[in-house]
């Protein structure tokens, strides 16, 4: 395929990885542990949206050239709320206790892995092992100059990523909450001494991280399909993006996501597409070898 065409696909996949990685890096920065359930949070978001779109059948008639109708808006809202609440609840019942006991980041990471396994099992119990699609209709690709093709849905994915990034920027740099979150991420003890309610900040972080992940999940489901393990297999590219950009740095994570996505797609020009899952791993290892703190440096 044309390199430029691969570049376009890479940007789309990269946007999805980047958005998911922004959520992952936020919780990594504030909570200090790697959340191995993040991929499954993503799957939860997809399926919550799928319930609204397919099972409830709200607003399914397509808008313009897109494959989805107005039903996508309540679907996105439900997914954000659902995943955000799930993240907050699991933190309340599991991670909070471990934190109070003074458990290390490794213990918390293992707990998150357990939560991920449970969530994946429940999703498989409800929806089974089959793959679903949001819409059955064909999303006709637009032809750009130079015979490049892009689907309207894919333009929507990139636009939504941009919108979420701007939203996150405003939240982190223009609100009191964002300032407190950044302070907690930099040094939670100092933040707590300065009078910041770090428990509340953790809750907010889980909510925002979950929300971003949910949106990324919906975009991934639009781009491909949804299955109980879609999010889990997406975990490695997201972690690679987080480490590429530096842990705790959302802009780094977005850039890291784009790098991972574009490299992954471009690699198919030269190597067997079956090796695509290995690309984020190679990027991760190269980064860990030469610059383990990430492109922009990490907060922890």
């Amino acid at each position: 395929m044309d390199i430029l065409q691969l570049l376009i696909i890479g940007t789309i996949v990269g946007s999805i990885i980047g958005l998911g990685a922004m959520g992952l890096t936020l919780s990594y920065g504030v909570m200090k542990f790697a959340n191995f359930a993040h991929g499954d949070f993503m799957t939860l978001g997809m399926f919550l949206a799928y319930v609204v779109i397919s099972d409830l059948g709200w607003g399914t008639s397509p808008i313009g050239n897109f494959s989805f109708g107005f039903g996508l808006i309540p679907a996105i809202i439900l997914a954000i709320l659902g995943v955000g609440c799930f993240a907050i609840i699991t933190d309340h019942f599991v991670h909070r206790h471990l934190r109070l006991r003074g458990s290390g980041i490794i213990t918390m990471a293992i707990a998150s892995l357990g939560i991920g396994i449970m969530l994946r099992a429940v999703i498989q119990m409800i929806w089974g092992p089959t793959a679903f699609r949001f819409t059955t209709g064909i999303n006709t690709a637009l032809t750009l100059p130079g015979d490049l093709k892009i689907k309207p849905d894919q333009i929507f994915i990139c636009a939504l990523t941009l919108l979420c990034t701007i939203g996150l920027y405003l939240l982190l740099y223009r609100t009191q909450l964002g300032k407190a979150m950044r302070a907690t991420s930099d040094n939670s003890e100092l933040a707590s001494i300065a009078g910041i309610d770090t428990d509340r900040i953790r809750m907010a972080t889980w909510g925002i991280s979950g929300g971003l992940t949910a949106i990324a999940g919906i975009m991934l489901a639009m781009q491909s399909q949804l299955r109980f393990d879609t999010g889990f297999t997406f975990l490695l590219p997201m972690f690679a993006a987080v480490i590429l950009g530096g842990i705790g740095n959302p802009w780094g994570a977005l850039l890291g996501g784009l790098i991972v996505g574009i490299t992954q797609e471009l690699s198919t020009e030269w190597i067997n597409p079956g090796f695509k899952p290995g690309v984020p791993f190679v990027l991760l290892i190269v980064m860990l070898l030469f610059r383990p703190r990430g492109i922009f440096g990490s907060s922890i």
């Binding site: 542990f33 790697a34 191995f36 599991v94 206790h97 471990l98 458990s103 980041i105 490794i106 213990t107 990471a109 293992i110 707990a111 892995l113 357990g114 939560i115 991920g116 396994i117 449970m118 969530l119 994946r120 099992a121 429940v122 498989q124 119990m125 297999t233 975990l235 490695l236 972690f239 480490i243 067997n272 597409p273 079956g274 090796f275 695509k276 899952p277 290995g278 984020p280 791993f281 991760l284 290892i285 860990l288 070898l289 383990p292």
Partner: protein
Amino acid sequence: MDHQYEKNFMAIPDSVILVTLIGATNWGVGFLTTVAIFAIVALALNLQWGYTGIFNFGVVAFFMIGAYTSALLTLPPPSKFESHILGLELPVLIGWFSAALAGGLLALVIGLPTLRLRRDFLAIATIGVATIIRSIANTTEGFVNRGSGLNGIPRFLDNFTNASDYKWVLLVIMIVMLSAVYFGLQRVTAAPWGRVLRAIRDNEETAMAAGKHTVSFRMQAFVLGGAIMGLAGALWAHRTGSISPTAFNDLFGTFVIWTMVMVGGSGNNKGAVIGALAVGFFWFGTPLIQEDLPDILGTRVFQLRELTVGLLIVLFLLFQPHGLIREKPQVSRFITKRKNMYQQLD
């Protein structure tokens, strides 16, 4: 099952008992053989995680590398319906040895860039390794016969008995291997080497201050653990006779092993074996009662099993972080001897 056969089967209650008894024995022998292999993997993970605090989320990758290495070395050259490399018809023991080497080598490759960094980086790096190895096995033409897998892997010592008694030979082989690994690990973990590992796990800075090259020790433990996992993979391959990429999934090969170590109690070898028995019994036992469960549970028994594995990890972390068997604070026999000696002097 044939209908006529089923009728006859029901008519003779005595033989039913006999048949179930034989069935139970068969199941028990198969179960113990499998659990012995799993216990070896759990012991290896316990060396990495329980003793050294190395966070390996890619256990199944080492297991798979070992299984494929040994299979490729011991299989006959590929027939015209298969396409894989090697096929050297080497003795099974050489296959096992090479499997351990391959597992250790994989550990070295992953450990070099990650072990000197934050502890969770290794976990992040290992979580994807199995997926990548599976996809390489699945897509590369003429490498390991892709999705069809390798079949007819030779058995070890199968000219010893007839086919129906071979299961006992297998069981003995596995128990011998498990004992060898167990006592070997027991020896090295009680030795100064193992005590350094525990010091690194509990406080790396202090261990460093005591002049220990901690990264090197962590690498040694990671490589030794990886080698044992590779060996276990080879034992598995020669037990089942056929392997394919999909069989090595993360749940069965990594997360169940983690649950075994968490449940049994990390940081002691007895715990790993007991955890393997307990979790293994649950894991392989639940499909047997599938038909007796109410439909709503019975049809979802595999997902329920998966759910329980996740739940066990979380519950043990929260309520029983030391597992069923607590780690002994003191492992060296010399210290006890010394103490007794001093007491006698006093």
